[in-house]
């Protein structure tokens, strides 16, 4: 499996390490060299220092051959643009974007992009934990 991960923050880096350990081909793209510090010493994939919103960058990362693209930069707009390009222009079979702003989730789903919103997920978990703590009424 060939996976392109855009954004090497704590999520992108962690995911890249996990997939690489499983023996998958992984390319990580990030604008900043320092971001690749998130990668473990066993990471055996490729690192590309570039801005993935530049059309050339995804092409040179061979996006047309990718089985999966995960967009998890710090910028919601960038994630959604990359996810749409991957899905609608290059027909990548699995595409997912991280989105921080829950107010926009509905719109993104209208665009046909599968998203994960850490804010919503955390809120749900926090709520569950609070309710389970069985505090007084």
């Amino acid at each position: 499996m060939y996976v392109i991960i855009v954004g090497c923050g704590s999520l992108g880096g962690h995911l890249a390490n996990e997939l690489s350990r499983e023996g998958q081909d992984v390319v990580v793209i990030d604008k900043h060299q320092s971001a690749f510090g998130e990668l473990s010493s066993e990471f055996s994939g490729f690192q590309v220092i570039a801005d993935a919103t530049e059309a050339e960058v995804l092409i040179s990362a061979r996006i047309e051959d990718a089985d999966a693209v995960v967009a998890c930069t710090e910028d919601d707009n960038v994630n959604l643009m990359i996810a749409q390009i991957a899905k609608q222009i290059y027909n990548v079979p699995f595409v997912m974007a991280r989105v921080f702003n829950p107010a926009r989730t509905e719109i993104y789903n209208d665009l046909g992009i599968d998203t994960i919103c850490p804010t919503t997920l955390s809120a749900i978990q926090f709520k569950k934990a609070i309710m389970a703590a069985d505090l007084k009424e």
Binding site: T53, E54, A55, E56, D75, D76, N77, V78, L80, M81, I82, Q84, I85, Q88, I89, N101, A103, R104, I107, D110, L111
Partner: protein, 224 residues
């Protein structure tokens, strides 16, 4: 007509807003730079200025986007321009969206992702410069449909290859170059095949950009 200009503040939205307001359009500016918004609001008495990020649907709601006819995204970030236009058209039903693309490579991608028109200043300025530099005879050049067709104006020099020839007899005039009109002194000459060119004729020419050079050479001679 209502136009929304979404940018980062600065000169581009300012001059566009002035231009559109003078034509009687309702103009709303969304500016992501709070200081820039204040400056724009002070300088433009005819435009509504909203401070905020145009890719946030709440800001688009504040701008009353549902009543807009045209939405123009002008920021320096291609991703933001794409999303703003998509939200404006899908959520607020704005009929026409235009996005500036900073990376010319994104022009085609944006069109395929449903943006009404994507325009790249790099491509526009680049092609203008390239055509101007090689074609000194051109007085005026207007790109149409993002430069897929040009209307240009040139004046026939004394002794130019086309002088003394009928339009239909000019050799090497490209198929996709059309003489739209000839100005001769005070007169307007409607170009038929048998009309004979004279020196100092001002010719209005419609061409594909790639044939412009060849058309000029056929009419006026010179390089290329």
């Amino acid at each position: 007509m209502k136009v929304i200009l979404a940018g980062e503040g600065g000169k581009l939205p300012y001059f566009l807003a002035k231009r559109f307001a003078s034509k009687g359009y309702d103009v709303t500016i969304i500016s992501s730079d709070p200081e820039g918004s204040t400056v724009l609001a002070r300088a433009l008495d005819k435009a509504v200025v909203i401070s905020g990020d145009g890719s946030d649907p709440r800001v688009l709601a504040d701008a009353d986007s549902a009543t807009a006819d045209v939405f123009v995204a002008l920021t320096s970030q291609d991703a933001r321009n794409l999303l703003m236009c998509q939200i404006a058209s899908q959520r607020f039903g704005v009929p026409k969206t235009l996005a500036l693309v900073n990376d010319p490579g994104n022009e085609e991608n944006f069109c395929r992702l449903g943006i009404g028109a994507a325009f790249s200043p790099t491509n526009i300025i680049g092609s203008l410069v390239e055509q101007k530099i090689s074609l000194d005879d051109i007085n005026n050049l207007i790109p149409i449909e993002e430069g897929r067709v040009n209307i240009s104006e040139l004046v026939l020099k004394e002794g130019a290859p086309a002088v003394g020839l009928a339009i239909r007899d000019v050799p090497l005039l490209p198929e996709d170059a059309v003489i739209a009109c000839i100005f001769r002194g005070d007169k307007v000459v409607i170009p038929r095949g048998k009309i004979v060119f004279e020196a100092h004729d001002k010719i209005v020419l419609i061409t594909m950009p790639e044939s412009l050079g060849a058309a000029i050479k056929a009419l006026n001679g010179g390089r290329e």
